[in-house]
């Protein structure tokens, strides 16, 4: 009785959000799942049920496995580069007093720039002929280090990830800084009295104190990495020869260029399951924390 009454009261408050969210997010989620079992070949075409045929096709598609492998590698790069840099800088900046705001603000600057603009910026930096990187290497007499940063197969994914991580680390740095400020300073004093070395303080005071923030940042970095698209699309479009193809760019290619919606939808399901798995694992991890 009270519950239905409450629903009647809550309904007008919820309706605008639910209507928008259902139309543009929830129903498309369900329809994506349906499309993955159909032979849909393009927009506004009929779609008939074909069972697991698309899943079988994707299973046998070497580009899918390459894109999946590269997506996992992309996540690892992002976690190490952006997460690692954010963590290291936060540890150092937290020890500053008068200049802390300056360094925090300055290091954060790349994060306010659009990833697409970041892609354009780094495409010019990596350009083999007029780019900053190769030109400065030549100028400094290190010309032997000059590379085709975006054309060499084993380098391209990493090169693009550097651009993405350059944009991404600032947010992780801020979150780590906020976490560091929440650690009780008397714990450090106590460790000092006990004669702890800086390394021991890091391991026994800082890391346990940051536990919650670390799990949060790791999950955020993984989800952000999974959504990675703009830098790759702007800089390489997944090339050369699929060497920087991610699941997201392959979805775009299949959906909007190849018009193979059934198979694209399978990739969408895979991408969603990866995101859901990451979220569940990290929620469990956080809940289990003491």
């Amino acid at each position: 009785m009270d519950a239905t009454n409450g629903l009647r009261r809550a309904f007008p408050f919820l309706l605008p959000a639910i209507a928008l969210y259902a139309t543009f997010t929830l129903i498309p989620m369900g329809r994506t799942l349906w499309l993955s079992f159909t032979d849909s070949g393009g927009f506004n075409t009929s779609a008939t049920f074909v069972g697991g045929a698309n899943y079988a096709a994707i299973w046998n598609d070497p580009i899918f496995w390459q894109a999946l492998r590269q997506t996992v590698l992309w996540l690892v790069y992002h976690l190490l580069l952006a997460g690692g840099l954010g963590f290291a800088l936060a540890l150092l900046i937290a020890r500053l007093k008068t200049t802390q705001v300056f360094f925090r603000t300055a290091f954060f600057l790349p994060h306010v720039v659009s990833l697409a603009v970041v892609g354009v910026i780094w495409a010019t930096i990596y350009d083999p002929f007029f780019g900053f990187l190769n030109n400065s290497l030549h100028t400094l007499g290190l010309g032997f280090l000059a590379r085709g940063w975006l054309s060499e197969p084993f380098l391209v994914l990493f090169s693009v990830n550097v651009a993405s991580s350059w944009q991404g680390f600032g947010l992780y740095m801020l979150l780590f800084l906020a976490g560091l400020q929440n650690i009780d300073p008397t714990l450090y004093d106590a460790a000092e009295v006990d004669g702890a070395s800086p390394f021991q303080k890091l391991v026994h005071v800082t890391l346990p104190g940051l536990r919650e923030v670390i799990t949060f940042v790791v999950s955020l970095a993984l989800i952000n990495g999974l959504k990675g698209f703009a830098t790759v699309w702007v800089m390489t479009q997944g090339g050369p020869y699929y060497q920087s193809e991610l699941v997201t760019t392959y979805i775009y290619r299949l959906a909007f260029q190849a018009q193979q919606h059934g198979q694209a939808a399978v990739l969408c399901v895979v991408l969603s399951l990866m995101a859901i798995a990451i979220t569940i694992v990290f929620n469990r991890w956080r809940e289990r924390a003491p």
Partner: protein
């Protein structure tokens, strides 16, 4: 004394990494003021002989950056207004009104928080196309708001939950309905949450690339990041134009960030941790 020396040493040590991190910006600003001949010269560390402000005028006109920035501003304003308008009441209902089925709603929202936008893009395109909203800023705005709704609702809900129930009960005794409680009591004391939501939705919208790429086809409706990418692709051999166009694309947001950095940082951190 010792502390000041420590601070000085650490600041000096951090200056080199800072220079590396900000290097791309500095190099682009410097190069954007060079002539085409100077850009092609191999040494990137030379200063331009004469500052070529003309590059900026040319890029601005050729790239139509005025229109692109205008479109982005309309887009951002629309997303902020609509996101606040739908998320504040929904967050209030989840925080302060008891009703059945709340748990189901909660899971449905978490799903949206988790699943990447690329994973629903095919049906999303179909819906927008059915509503004749492809190639329109209105369609882009609706899709972006929907994508922000889970985060916005959670942010408002977690803030509203901190408001004591006694306040709601007292207002009810005074004859206020839930709507009045929301607009007269909750919203005025929620500026930190509202500010966090504004900052995060503004930044993500201003910087969005994927949805504009899919939805906005003709150049006259495109937003800044998409327009810049198209511009850089069209004029890729005209480096001075690409450089100055790129600076035009990142400078406004950087200046705005520096001017508002304290609120900006706070809003972003609070929002990320609470949402």
């Amino acid at each position: 004394m010792n502390a000041a020396r420590h601070e000085g040493a650490l600041a000096a040590a951090l200056s080199l990494p800072l220079l590396v991190i900000l290097g791309p910006f500095l190099w682009l600003v410097l190069s954007s003021l060079k002539s085409e001949a100077e850009i092609s010269g191999a040494n990137p560390f030379t200063l331009p002989a004469r500052l070529m402000w003309q590059n900026y005028l040319d890029a601005w006109h050729v790239g139509g950056f005025g229109d692109l920035i205008g479109n982005s501003l309309v887009n951002v304003a629309g997303v902020i207004a609509l996101t606040l308008a739908v998320c504040a009441p929904a967050g209030y209902a989840l925080a302060k009104i008891r009703f059945g089925g709340k748990e189901w709603l909660f899971y449905a929202i978490v799903l949206g928080l988790t699943v990447p936008i690329q994973a629903i893009i095919i049906p999303l395109y179909e819906v927008l196309s059915g509503l004749k909203l492809i190639n329109s800023l209105a369609g882009l705005t609706l899709a972006q708001v929907s994508n922000l709704i889970p985060f916005g609702i959670f942010l408002m809900r977690s803030f509203f939950r901190g408001v004591p129930d006694e306040l709601v009960e007292a207002a009810k005794i005074d004859g206020c309905g839930h709507f009045q409680i929301l607009t007269r009591i909750f919203l005025p004391i929620s500026t930190p949450a509202i500010f966090a939501l504004v900052i995060i939705s503004a930044l993500s919208t201003w910087n969005d690339f994927f949805l504009p790429l899919v939805i906005l086809i003709s150049p006259d409706v495109q937003t800044l990041p998409l327009g810049l990418v198209r511009f850089a692709g069209t004029y890729q051999t005209d480096h001075r134009l690409v450089f100055s166009g790129t600076v035009i694309s990142f400078l406004p947001i950087i200046v705005l960030y520096i001017l508002t950095q304290r609120h900006f940082t706070q809003g972003l951190t609070q929002g990320a941790l609470k949402g």
